[in-house]
Amino acid sequence: MKKLLFNPFEKYDGRPILALGLVATLIGSFLGLTFNARFDGVIDMHFAPKVAFAEPFTDNVFNIAILFFVLYAIGRSINNKTRPIDILGIVMLARLPFYLDTLTNINGYMYKFGEKVMKMGDNPMSIDPTEILIPASLALITLPLLVWYIALLYNGFKTATNLKTSQHKAWFAIAIVIAEILSKILFFILY
């Protein structure tokens, strides 16, 4: 079960993973739409008062495309037998835990709390400590979901490229950073 959650790519590949990834992307985009989340970076998500219908979908398309191109280019330089279908499927499916994080904004809860914190200004004592408890607990959910996302991405990339050396592992980390920077630049230009 643990292997299936963190490394399904050892058992499944190609079309089944791609199909699951497509379903995950659609579910994630609908969750983004329902809970007003913008995926404005490869490893970024922010809540907004209201998002337009197409926004979470286009966000995900851009994020998946950037992550795919960067990981595929680095994957090919590590092992020239790396297949694009594997990398694309991995990128699409790995983002599923990230999409689940949108659930923390049910009824705009996290967004409203964020706004309240912003309005506190110089008077942080004006907030009731018990009010922080639920948002802090919800924020704590984000961390394991992010770890799950990166773990899926790493395990999938490792399987697809036969990653072994520390140098290659460092290249994976660099790929994620490059993808994040590129996505931030793209979103800055677009919006």
Binding site: F9, E10, K11, D13, G14, K81, R83, T159, A160, N162
Partner: protein, 93 residues
């Protein structure tokens, strides 16, 4: 009947073992000498079985992957690792 496992490494120093004696089970003729083990016999039993399965499946990675219930990249990685190992075991020409 249990088939004894062919030892390929020295239990004392882990070095590669050579064949020093062979015998005919029919007439008990014995041949002595110093023969290095062929590369394939230097591999552990599970890897020898894997190579045999791969050969019997017509060298198809996809078929091997579906037979063993692993993904294609996992199977390809296993074959690549084995190729690398065999290259290291093979005497340089």
């Amino acid at each position: 009947m249990h088939t004894p496992k062919l030892p390929v490494n020295c239990p004392s120093c882990s070095g590669s073992l050579h064949v020093s004696q062979l015998s005919c089970p029919a007439c008990s003729t014995q041949v002595s000498g110093n023969y290095p083990l062929p590369v394939l016999l230097q591999l552990p039993a599970d890897e020898q079985t894997f190579i045999l399965q791969f050969f019997l499946s017509g060298g198809s990675l996809k078929e091997m992957a579906s037979q063993t219930g692993v993904s294609y990249p996992t199977m390809r990685n296993r074959v690549d690792d084995l190729i690398e190992k065999i290259k290291q075991l093979s005497p340089e020409e």
